[in-house]
């Protein structure tokens, strides 16, 4: 049941109507919880196996009780043990379900390198949708309770809603327990303003997902599916298109999640902030998948020591954080390569920044309009290039694509009208420029209501008309 499906529209219309007609705050929580459970069960039924819903429910209930234990237990060692049990169970379930076959294949391939042939087979494992997301949310809860930043939630329904809340359940954003649980307890009233804002977010998300991402996928999938068959020109187009596809797909989904939550009276943290306008790689990670990068910073990078130690220790911590961040995205060495490459870029950026700090002229040059935009282009170029191993099926495919980018190779042309691509690129560029300039918010407020409504109606029709034939699953669903 994708966000962009008719079935979800029907589901949400019923849920939102019943929700706002209910006058009792506690009843609304139970109602949302029931709806979220049903949503996830139907999603599991469509994508994998309906029984997987019990895994997320089981680990959530366990974390709830471990959190209560952390609250009442004062002994430091005991509390640490409880925390470690929570982390071990959550990561253990995630590790087994998502990475067991990856680990076995890696052992077999490593043994092959030494001339040992080990037959390991493949475990038949079904991965619950969104396991990477809700596992991180559960860990942030127990860690925050352990650190006494947050009292343990006493109401099981409230806690389960934090884990299972359907707008963010399967593909984020990764919600902080202290932000969400505070909202569960707050009374909510219907607001036309919130409805307008939520609707606008959903519309933006639907445009990015259906018109941009799904359309670009028609070009990207064949090229990355068989890179050796396509020409250099088609490969360049596909690489550029994928950078926009993944942005459209993920930011579109996040916008729809935020809008949907908004319509129910919940505010989730935004996940994207014009990432392709970043001036350096650190800035990029403050704009791309912000909920994940903050989680990695707070629960992995800082506990490892952060940047408080020597340069070598900082570099080590960055590499470990980004490598694991890459692995979080998928059980494949291509993701690890992607993460390590980003870690390397972050280390390089830190060194460059230190070098510039001793050279005020260079710093001043970078701060000019030309310097800033050159920095943006360079950052964007690095990020786009690193999407290649992220998207490629294997390291061999990554190499093939890089070869075709760097040296002319004949082959098939791109399977999408070039005019369509140019229009998409132009629309995204204009959208970025408009969003970047804060003036548009003031202009928005001066437009008469009927005109604004007409613009929304045109936009909705454009999304409906331009959506490609068959809906594609969100890229980040695989996580």
């Amino acid at each position: 049941m994708l966000f962009c499906s008719l079935r979800f529209v029907q589901f949400f219309a019923i849920v939102a109507t019943v929700y706002w007609l209910m006058p009792w705050r506690h009843a609304r929580v139970y109602m949302l919880l029931g709806a979220s459970f049903w949503f996830y069960r139907e999603l599991c039924r469509e994508l994998a196996d309906v029984r997987l819903v019990w895994i997320v429910l089981g680990t959530a209930v366990l974390d709830y009780w471990l959190g209560r234990l952390l609250d009442v237990w004062s002994a430091r060692r005991g509390r640490l043990a409880v925390l470690l049990v929570s982390i071990a169970v959550n990561l253990g379930v995630l590790g087994y379900l998502k990475y067991a076959n990856f680990f076995l294949n890696t052992v077999a391939q490593s043994a092959d390198l030494f001339g040992l042939h080990i037959h390991v087979g493949t475990l038949r494992i079904l991965v619950p949708v969104g396991i990477s997301f809700y596992t991180f949310e559960a860990i942030n809860y127990t860690v925050d309770v352990y650190r006494r930043r947050l009292p343990a939630e006493r109401n099981l329904a409230n806690f389960l809603l934090f884990i299972l809340f359907f707008p963010h359940l399967v593909a984020g954003p990764i919600v902080r327990a202290r932000d969400f649980l505070a909202q569960v307890q707050r009374p909510k009233r219907w607001s036309w303003l919130r409805c307008q804002h939520g609707g606008a977010l959903i519309l933006r998300g639907a445009f990015l997902k259906l018109v941009v991402a799904d359309r670009l996928a028609l070009l990207v999938d064949p090229v990355f599916g068989e890179p050796s068959a396509f020409s250099t020109g088609a490969t360049w187009l596909a690489v550029a298109a994928y950078a926009l596809q993944i942005y459209g797909d993920f930011s579109g989904y996040s916008a729809m999640a935020l809008g949907t939550a908004h319509l129910l009276g919940y505010k989730l943290a935004p996940n994207f902030n014009l990432p392709y306008l970043a001036v350096n790689i650190s800035d990029f990670w403050r704009r791309w998948h912000m909920s994940l990068s903050r989680w990695l910073r707070d629960y992995l990078f800082i506990p490892l020591g952060g940047s408080t130690g020597s340069n070598w220790l900082t570099a080590r911590n960055l590499l470990i954080t980004m490598a694991l961040g890459g692995l979080w995205h998928g059980a494949s060495w291509t993701f690890v390569l992607w993460g390590v490459a980003h870690g390397t870029l972050l280390i390089a950026h830190r060194s460059f920044r230190s070098w510039c700090a001793a050279r005020p002229r260079v710093t001043a040059a970078l701060a000019t309009w030309l310097g800033t935009n050159l920095a943006r282009v360079a950052t964007c170029g690095c990020v786009v290039a690193l999407w290649i191993p992220f998207r490629a099926r294997t390291l061999t495919d990554t190499t093939t694509i890089l070869q075709r980018l760097l040296a002319f190779a004949p082959g098939q042309r791109a399977d999408l009208p070039e005019v369509s691509l140019l229009v998409l690129f132009a629309a995204l560029a204009v959208g970025h420029v408009v969003a970047f300039r804060a003036r548009w918010q003031r202009s928005w407020s001066r437009v008469p209501a009927p005109v604004l409504a007409a613009a929304f109606a045109v936009a909705v029709n454009a999304v409906l008309l331009l959506a490609p034939p068959a809906g594609k699953t969100f890229i980040y669903f695989q996580f």
Binding site: W192, L193, A269, P417, A449, L464, P469
Partner: protein, 374 residues
């Protein structure tokens, strides 16, 4: 920035007008925006729904593009006999209607019009629906050349092919009952039809897009293929495309699509049987001549048939033709392997050869020479 501050900062509605404007005013504006939006959206869908009713080519351009072209040709040429070929992509690519027309005119000595009404993914069900629609639109051909695609007669193909590739939104309201008899689920037909009325921007986006902005859509989904044909509705596959690799891939693809259907457990589907019978009955009732046509197949495709399947198909067709007095033209062995791109879609030269041969077929010519039953 702290997460809480980030939350509130990014989710404050944008300020309206001068700072300090009362929240009530902003609420009122938001309500007006939403209500205006709902009214305008409903109005836009109602307009599109009305448009698609008044101009049915917005619902099914693949039929109406060819229908308009056929009507135009009949008015211009005023033939004494009009032959319309119904069928799948095998007909679309495999009948060179202009060449067939020239051949028939040579035999008949009077003006003849041949039009290729072939449609992608058409089988007995869609052929029957389109034939009924053509007659309902007061366009009665003198002879119908009706393709019989043996795999689409199979029981196993009932839930695939036509049902998978033919979108129910192409059917008119009055056709839904017939489509349900031919196997389309009633609920799906009603839902799609309702969708085209309530949300035409979503349900009719491919025909609308294909008509007004085809450059925005990939060629395989645009539904404007029937506009890119020759003057007689035919198209062709250039011989140059048949490289050994392309042919091998095509044959492999064909095998994966059809081999399982043509096994020893082949049975004629009841809905296919019904659809063919309906087509023949309609022609008989309207005084339209009908010739069933088995299009050419390469030896590699013919090898896919289990002997039991071949026998079942021919027994069925002979019984059907014998009972209804309908001629059957068996063109399966007319072309060699090298005349096909994938074992069952002829290349341009193959289509010409098959059409020439069809033009000399006794059954077809006899229908052109019969007295006008009206």
């Amino acid at each position: 920035m702290k997460t809480t501050a980030l939350l509130t900062a990014h989710h404050q509605p944008p300020p309206i007008g001068k700072p300090g404007r009362p929240r009530a005013a902003r609420r009122g504006r938001a309500r007006r925006v939403i209500l205006w939006f709902m009214a305008l959206f409903v109005a836009s869908q109602a307009t599109l729904a009305l448009l698609s009713t008044v101009r049915p080519e917005l619902r099914d351009p693949q039929f109406y593009d060819k229908f308009d072209a056929l009507n135009q040709l009949r008015m211009e040429k005023r033939p004494t006999q009009c032959v319309v070929a119904f069928g799948s992509s095998r007909t679309f690519y495999g009948i060179d209607a202009l060449r067939l027309e020239q051949r028939l005119e040579f035999k008949h000595s009077e003006p003849v019009l041949v039009y290729n009404f072939g449609q992608f993914s058409a089988g007995p069900r869609l052929n029957s629906l389109y034939l009924h629609r053509l007659v309902a639109h007061e366009c009665r051909p003198d002879v119908v050349l009706l393709e019989v695609l043996p795999p689409l007669l199979a029981q196993k193909a009932e839930n695939g092919y036509e049902r998978h590739f033919v979108a129910p939104r192409r059917f008119l309201r009055e056709e839904l009952q017939r489509a349900a008899r031919y196997g389309w689920p009633h609920a799906e037909l009603e839902t799609e039809w309702l969708g085209t009325v309530l949300a035409p921007a979503a349900y009719l986006r491919l025909p609308l897009g294909g008509r007004f902005a085809p450059w925005l859509f990939p060629p395989n989904v645009r539904e404007d293929g029937c506009r890119r044909t020759d003057v007689r509705g035919s198209s062709w596959i250039d011989n140059g495309r048949a490289s050994p690799t392309a042919r091998a891939e095509g044959v492999a693809r064909t095998r994966s699509e059809y081999a399982a259907i043509l096994g020893p457990d082949f049975q004629i589907s009841s809905t296919a049987r019904l659809a063919l019978a309906d087509s023949i009955e309609l022609c008989r009732r309207e005084g339209i001549g009908v010739v069933l046509y088995l299009p050419p197949e390469a030896p590699s495709f013919q090898a896919l048939y289990a002997p039991e399947a071949s026998q079942a198909i021919m027994v069925f067709l002979h019984e059907l033709c014998g009972r209804n007095g309908v001629a059957l033209v068996d063109g399966r062995n007319w072309l060699g392997e090298e005349e096909f791109i994938d074992g069952h879609h002829p290349l341009r030269t193959g289509a010409r050869l098959a059409s020439e041969r069809l033009g000399t077929n006794v059954s077809l010519v006899q229908w052109l020479r019969r007295p006008d039953p009206k």
